[in-house]
Each structure stands twice: as C-alpha cells, then as structure tokens.
Symmetry: C2
Subunit: 616 residues, 2 copies
Amino acid sequence: MPDAAQLEHLKKLATLIRYDILTMTTQAGSGHPTSSMSAAELMIGLMFGGIFRYDLDNPKHPNNDRLIFSKGHATPLFYSLWALAGKLTEADLMTYRHFGSPLEGHPTMSFRYTEAATGSLGQGLAIGLGVALNAKYLDRLPYTTYVLLGDSEMAEGSQWETMQLAAHYKLDNLVGVLDVNRLGQRGETMYGHDLMAYERRIAAFGWETILVDGHAFPEVLAAYSRAMTVTDKPVMIIARTIKGKGVSFIEDKNGWHGKTLSREELAKALPELGPVDKTVRGKVQKPEDLRPAPAAPKPAAPLAYEPGASLATRKAYGNALKRLYPQYPDLVSLDAEVSNSTYAEIFKNAFPQEFFEMYIAEQNMVGAGLGLATRGKIPFVSTFAAFFSRAFDQVRMSQYSEPNLKFCGSHAGVSIGEDGPSQMGLEDLAMFRSVLSSVVLYPADAVATERLVEAALEHHGIVYIRTTRAGTPVIYGPEEKFPIGGLKVLRQSDHDLVTVIGAGVTLFEALAAYEALQKEGISIRVIDLYSVKPVDGAALLAAAQATRGLITVEDHYPAGGIGEAVMAALAPNPVPVYALAVTQKPKTGKPAELLDYEAISRNAIIKLVKEIAASR
Amino acid sequence: MPDAAQLEHLKKLATLIRYDILTMTTQAGSGHPTSSMSAAELMIGLMFGGIFRYDLDNPKHPNNDRLIFSKGHATPLFYSLWALAGKLTEADLMTYRHFGSPLEGHPTMSFRYTEAATGSLGQGLAIGLGVALNAKYLDRLPYTTYVLLGDSEMAEGSQWETMQLAAHYKLDNLVGVLDVNRLGQRGETMYGHDLMAYERRIAAFGWETILVDGHAFPEVLAAYSRAMTVTDKPVMIIARTIKGKGVSFIEDKNGWHGKTLSREELAKALPELGPVDKTVRGKVQKPEDLRPAPAAPKPAAPLAYEPGASLATRKAYGNALKRLYPQYPDLVSLDAEVSNSTYAEIFKNAFPQEFFEMYIAEQNMVGAGLGLATRGKIPFVSTFAAFFSRAFDQVRMSQYSEPNLKFCGSHAGVSIGEDGPSQMGLEDLAMFRSVLSSVVLYPADAVATERLVEAALEHHGIVYIRTTRAGTPVIYGPEEKFPIGGLKVLRQSDHDLVTVIGAGVTLFEALAAYEALQKEGISIRVIDLYSVKPVDGAALLAAAQATRGLITVEDHYPAGGIGEAVMAALAPNPVPVYALAVTQKPKTGKPAELLDYEAISRNAIIKLVKEIAASR
C-alpha cells in the first residue's frame, strides 16, 4: 500500500498529466483526450508506483520492462507519461500532431520510447506476447511486458488469439491492463461497465484476472504487486474507469471520443483539475543490469543440391532455416499449425527451442513475430501464402515499427492443384508488394530458395518469400548469387523474338516453351524474376528493347502481381508487356490442368509467342 | 430418443458414408478422409435424424435450414451427405476433386447445395451469423442455421468475434457443431480432448453449451433436440470425436490429416466397416413453406447537392444509403463501431432495423455480410479503408461464394491528416483490385458518390467504394452519369501537353494544377478515374496518344494502385505513364502538408508537368 506521501505524489502526477493531456490536444486541435484520461492512474501507478523498471537513458536495455499502448490513440497519455518522467518538456508536448514532430497521432518509431507502432486496434497484445516469449524462452531475462488495452478493442478476434496463446505458453511475464471506460467511438461497448463479462471470458481463456477501480491508486498498485506474484499464467488487470475522468462535462459522456476541447472549453475544464504543480516528476525504477547470452555464430554448412534433382522450394525453405541458424543465432521460426506443409518443421525438429507453434491464429503469429523482432530476433513467420491475408492488417502495421521481420508463404497459386481456390495464394504478391518498404522474393528452385533466405537474413527489413508446393528441378549451381533486386537471364540469343519472364513454377513453363519454340525455329529470351520487389528495371528494359517486348507469366491474380511490378518498373519508358496471369476463377484440378486452364502454362506461352510472331 | 429401428437405420447410413468417404478420397488421391469420419454421426444425425428441414429440390427455399461446413476440408463428408439424401450417385462421388467436377476439394458454388464457399478456416461461423441475423431480424423466418466447426479452427480469432456477436444478437437460431477430434494438421490441438476447455470459453462468451459423444446417435439427436428449445442464445454442441473413426489403423492417429488411403490400405480398411448397404438413403424433413414479406420498392428521391458546396464523400455515402433504401429494400448496412466516421449512421438513424452494429470485429462483419448476401440481401459493409485489411482473408474468400456484396472504406490515404499512418488506407485499392471479379470505385464528389452507390446496387457482385475524410466541392451536376468502367475527362483542349489522372482527393489537386499551369500557358488534360476497376483503357489510350503521356496521381501506395491499374490497361500498347503515389513513410501532419510531402499535391503535379515540358 502506498503511504500518504506517495499517494499525494501520485495524485499530483495525475493532475499534471490531465493538464498535459487537455492542453496538448486542444493545442493540436485533434486527438483523444478522454480515452487518455481514463487510463491516467493505471499508467502513472505502473510507471511511477515503483513497479516499472526501465533505464530512461537506454531504451534499448535488454532487461527494461516494456510498455505497449495497444490503444494507440491514447498518445496524449503516452507522451505525457514520458514528460512526467522528465524526458519531454511542455514545449515538446505542444508539438503534438504537428508535421515533423516525433509526437505523432498514434505511436510511431519517431518517438524513442515507442516499442512498436500501434493504432490499428487489437494488435498490441500480440506484440507483447512476442516480447514476453523472448523474455521467457529466448533471452531468459526477468523483465515484464505490460500492454494497455481498450475495452472496445476486446471485440477484435486477434485479442483472443493472443489470450489463448499467452496462456498456452504460460507467460507470467505478460500483464494486460484493460481500461474499461465503457464507451467506444460511437457509443457504448457490448458490455459497458460489466467488468464480470470481461472477467468470465478472460479467466476462461486461462488468464489470472484482477478487478480494480482504475482511478484508485491503492487498488491499482496492489493489482500490479499481485500480478508480479502470479506464476505460469498471464495476468489481466481489469479496471473500471471513466472516460474523460477529471472534467465533469466530458466524464462518461458519449460523443467525446476523438474530440478535443475548444479553447473556451479548456478554460472551463482546467480549474476542475485543481492546483497543477508543473514541476512534479515521477521516478522510474532501473532494471537489473542483465543481458542475454546469445550463441556465438558459426559458419553455415555449404549447399548440397544435386543439379536436376526435384525438390519443392518450400522444403528448401525449411532446409535453409536449419542450415543458416548456426550462422544467424537470432533466427526464430513461427508457424500456424502447418509446419509440415511449409516445412518450417525441418527447422523445428533441429532447433525446437527456437521454434514457436502458433496454431491456426495468423494475426497473433504476425504480431508475435513483430514483438520478437523488436527485441532483436529475426523471426521467420510461415503459413500458406493465402492465409497471410488473414493478418494483412498486422503485416501492414508492422512496417511502421521498422522491424527485421520475414514472412514465408507456401502453396502459391493454382499450381497447388486439387485443394482449390481457398488454399491458393493468388493475392499474396499484391499484398506484400503493397507494403511500402517490403522486399518480395520468389525462388524457382532449391538453390535460389536457400540463397534468398540468406539474402533475407542479411537484409534488415520486411521480406516476403513465396514458395511452391510441388517439386521443381534444381537449375542453379551452388555458387550462384541471388542479390535482392536482381534477375537471371536463363536463355538468350541475338535473335530473340520476345522476352518471357517467369518466376517460381512459371519459370519452368517458360523454359519448356523455349525448348518447344526452338524446335520451330523461334528463339525467346527467358528471365527468372526471382526478385519481384525491387525489380531490376534496367535489365528488363534492356531485354525488352532487344526483343519485341515482355511476356510476364505468373501464378497469381493480375492485379498487383508480377506483370504490374514489371510495368511499373518500365512505366516512363514503356515497352509492350503482355501479362499472363490467373484470370479464370480457379477450381479443383491437377496442377498442369490448372496452368492450362488459366493460360499460364507452356502451351499458353507458346500460343502467345506465335501470335506476336505473326503480328508483324 | 431414437427407437431401435431408427438407430439401426442411422448406423447403416454411417457405415455407407464411411465407405463413400474412403473410396472417393482414395479414388481422388487427395482429400481429408479422417476429418470427415470424425463428424459422420454428427452430420447424419442432423440431416437424417428428423432435425434438419430442407427442400432438396429447392435449395433456394427461403425457409430451408442452412448447413455450412466451416471445416471446409471435410468435403468427402459433405458431398456424401447429399449422396445419402439421394442427390448424388456413387459415380458422382468418384469424380471428387477431378477437374470440371462440381465436387471440388473445398466447397464452392459449383455444387448446388453449398451455402457459401469455405476452406479458409474460421470463417463459416461468421457466415452463419449473417444467415441467422437474416432469419431472425429481416426475413423473420423460423429456419435454423447449423455450422460444422473443427476444433483446430477455434484458434482463429474470427471465431471469437462471431461468438460474442452471436450472443449479443441473441441468435437462438444459430447452432454450432464443434467436432473435437483432438488432432490438427500437424499434431494435437492446444486443448486435445479437453472438452471442458472449450465449454468454459464458449459458455463465457454467452452461448448455451451441450457436450456429447459425437459418435453416439442418441446423444447427438438429444443434443439437437435440446438446441431447438434454447431461447435468446446461440447453442454450441461440443462433441468428443475420433479422427478417422471406424478404421482402426487411422483412428486417433497423428500423421493422417489430409491423407488418403492407398488402394492396399483401402482394401484393408473397408472390411472393418462391416456390411455396407449401398441402397440405404436418409430422409430429410421439408420446411414449412413460409416466405419473407419484403417491402415494395419505391423510387428513390432525386439528388439535391448545391454545385460548389463542400461535402465529404463519406457523408454522401451515408446519404446515398438512406436515399436509395426505399428503392432497394434488400439493402442492409453493417459497420464496425465507426458509423459516425463512415457515416453509415445516416442510414442507421433512418432505418435502424436494417442496420447491424458489428463492433470492432471486421472479420466477423465481412463474414456476416456474406451470410446476409447468401440470403438475397445487399449488404453494404463499412469501416475505415485501412481496417478492411483486417478481413482480407474473408474478402478474398467471399468471391468464391459469388455474392452480391458491397464494401465502403472511408478515411483513404494520407489526406486524413493528423491521425497518422495506422489510420490511413494506403493498400485498400491493391487489396480490393486483387479480388478477381471485383469492381473498385473511387468517387471524388458527393454526386459521384451517390451515383456510384447506385451503380453498386445495380451491379451483382463485389464492389468496393473508397471515400474520403475531408470535404470536397460538388463538381458534378445531378444528372451526370457514372457507369462502372467509365471515366470523366474534365479538362481538355487540342494542345494538352500531358494527361493527368486523378481520383478522389487527387482529382482536386489535378484541377488546381490545371488552373496554375493555364496561367503559365501550359494546358493539361484532366481525367477523373472514378472507376479504378474496370478501367476504361480505350479512353486512356486516346488521351495518352493525344498528349505526351499520362500522369497518375493517387493517395495510395504505388503497388497495386491506380498507377498500376492504368499501366495494366495499356500494357500491350504502351504509352509513358508517370506514377505519383505515396512513396515516403507517411506521418502525422495536416492534409496539405502530407500531400506535398508525398509529392501527390498540385505542386508535385505542376513540377512534373514542367519537367515533361522541358524534356523535349
């Protein structure tokens, strides 16, 4: 229990933070003051109540406790906390939401104390899970991860994915703080102030629950203390709070979400806070100076693939993870209950400690991957290419945390065959290309896969690797290099009619078309576009200018895929591009039947090449 | 309780269905026999135990009970059920997974008894929720919706979104059947055969739960009977089952997911089933012949927008729904707790019965929309454009159900301003364009918005409408037509240097650039590309050929957006395309600051036009 002096001190901090929240949002003219005010005592109690351990001068300290605002719109509270800690001035706060200020509308990495960018609701807890997995199972450090949650966002299914996985992994170092302020953006939440409704659900999912009045410091501090004693399960502090708490005319009122006070309203509100001591500051405890003990890197074994042997690139992906881990001991693997299909299981079987089974819960998996990445790991997150669409919001959001995060999607395209369209990744290139800073790689054979996994490890950023279900022949020698942004010209002569660009399975269709056309006296250039983003525009332009144009062939829907990537690379200096892609609603069938049906097979290429030949 | 004869009959059906499941999958060489065998008694009990009411000759009967296989991989069971009902022959079953057969690997609309295409797990329950909402609140018919669920897929957060919403809407006409066969694709699920783990969670979410032995017909039938008596809550029948039940060497064994028996194994397995009576058939009860009583359409009111007045297209969207509902009484609106931002609230306030608040649970919302569409409604599903990424898998999958389904994403692009990148829709065009059969519309003013909502209502299929946060001036007269696939040439002369293509906010940047350049003696052509998919390629080609090329300007990331849509439309007949798009990591700021920062503003257009002018 806090003594009277401590209580007095915390209350002063709460008064000042409400002052900061209100003034900075009125100054900004936008923002979410009321959603910030409801969690003031919860966050002040955590940070300045002797619980939170953090080296303010070293945000990267590996043993810092971690605080993630899943309710990312509560940035007025978030930034003001660090002001109370002495790390921002009032003048800094007045730049809130201005262009160029690190204090952006939702937390981003431009602010040095942001752990991960949030703002799309229901994502912070999964990130916290990744951080907590790191602490408990990888770095083995005693820090705790705290996640501030809104009540509205508990409607997101992603939360319940994380709830179950956190309990499954017994993450007693993960503490959720649920700010039940009753009101969502446009009205009351499903459960209002019925804390028991949350408690029943959360407890059923295997968490320890603690109910508190979120504005009573003694209860809040006691809850955090109790949370520290819980073992083998994560803890949720479920707090009854009042939205807009502290100012009578906005307290618990609908219509005040994401709304700031006018100057006049501010003038009316501030006196209600009572005397504001602008000099009061909170003290944050320092963490123990513990460090993880990472394994020393050892050179990876060389490649050993027989030229011409058939191997699925998905299998080469698993081989690559296993082969490369000794050299990159920060590598971890996550998979969504399909490791025997993505072949992440090859890695899992070799290094079970560095593998996390995430079950069929892709959103949490991507969030957890991001959490691990924030702690310096290099997560490889795998599932069927199609099922990453389940986590597109998490993928999209992850870019704003600037992570070193890798995705591998298997079972690309109609070439998977009989399972049909639900299992076919036909939008994954569009999806991952749309991420601004992403790299998108699409190996055709086992050697390319191994080298591109290596390239992904060497590249700091978001990388997507697309793999194929069926075996493809090994066409590259073990010494072949695959730089990101490159391509391979596999067939060329000085009298090529057109250039055919394949990738993955369609490369082999292009090569087969080459053979067939050669017999008829027609030469085509064949390119393996293994780097779909970035694209080697200069090499494509040269090939296009040396021939009558480009034919792209892709096992993907037309929009956002390889064809458009090629067009975009050449747009100011246009050349004819003929895009073959999946344009019929796919169905069940044998791979070869489906490639023909979609006109992305060798036959379709041959037909188009002959049409072009006849057209002049 | 079934009498001895009925029990005997049901057991014969179960034996035959196992025979069918095993033989058709061995014949196909792929498929999921073991996942089908676990649910045999559950489904036979439902369909042929006197519970299920369905007019076999009229699958569209509005009062049919509905059965959705959320575990879509159990198609051997699904199709065999309809064979037992007399609607497929053994020869039909032998075409399973063959190219051209309606019996595809996962359920699609090529099979007449499929309610909705499934196969990406965790989606069937949300579709069922939409169907049940329709029955209870719109058509007001007494049919029941049954959803067969796998235990592995309960890890998907989407399930728990639906769990909470179904309870919230008191859907006592929705019955889940949870096939707890313990084994997922690559091993045991998180909870194995711990039925209580499911029961605790599901009951906490407000459902009635009934635990049964899923292979004991008396228990199964009693559960369905009891489910019919539950009021004001949905019901989950939680069944303990054995994967591969009926054949000793695959029963409850890991490693048999998605694996068929070889001919030799089949020969060993079939005798274990006992005598098979291939003539036995089940009888399905007919439904009461009730019909919904839809409102008679009345002509919509005419448009009334003041030319030049400023109005956000998102607000015009709300106005349009309200204005058009009388003419299209099948219109329903769903929104994810942001109806005061998307302005679906304008419709909600006018027609509260036709509006469903879906809270912050976008995956369930899209699934529910699909469910409503399967029952003939025309759902308009709205949230921030960015947050549709949360439901990309549901959007992607919905196309395979061939629905009449509309999406509206508000708050597109960096032009939303201070809230920052988490709230900015910057990938939504790429995402919705990637859906093969989609239409993508992007109105610039209020009139265009109204007309495009109308066009969406008239077009049977998936339509995405992108709206803008800020007000834009009304530039079109009330009689202007906006056909899907069209564009508007707003400025042109016979001496235009280049053609600038805008849409939404960037159209007004293009118009402002036009004015500024006119003063300097430079003419540009300006096009409003309100139909992003399909694109009017012929008109673009004409404009490009009449000028030095095209400049596309879009408030969206480059990949998969308007620039690439334009390039793709012109690819075989290329013209220079200069694509201006969002290429810097967005941040917080004022809309105009951000348009400049991203070089998609009038200033950026003017600069590029002058560069092109100087380049010759």
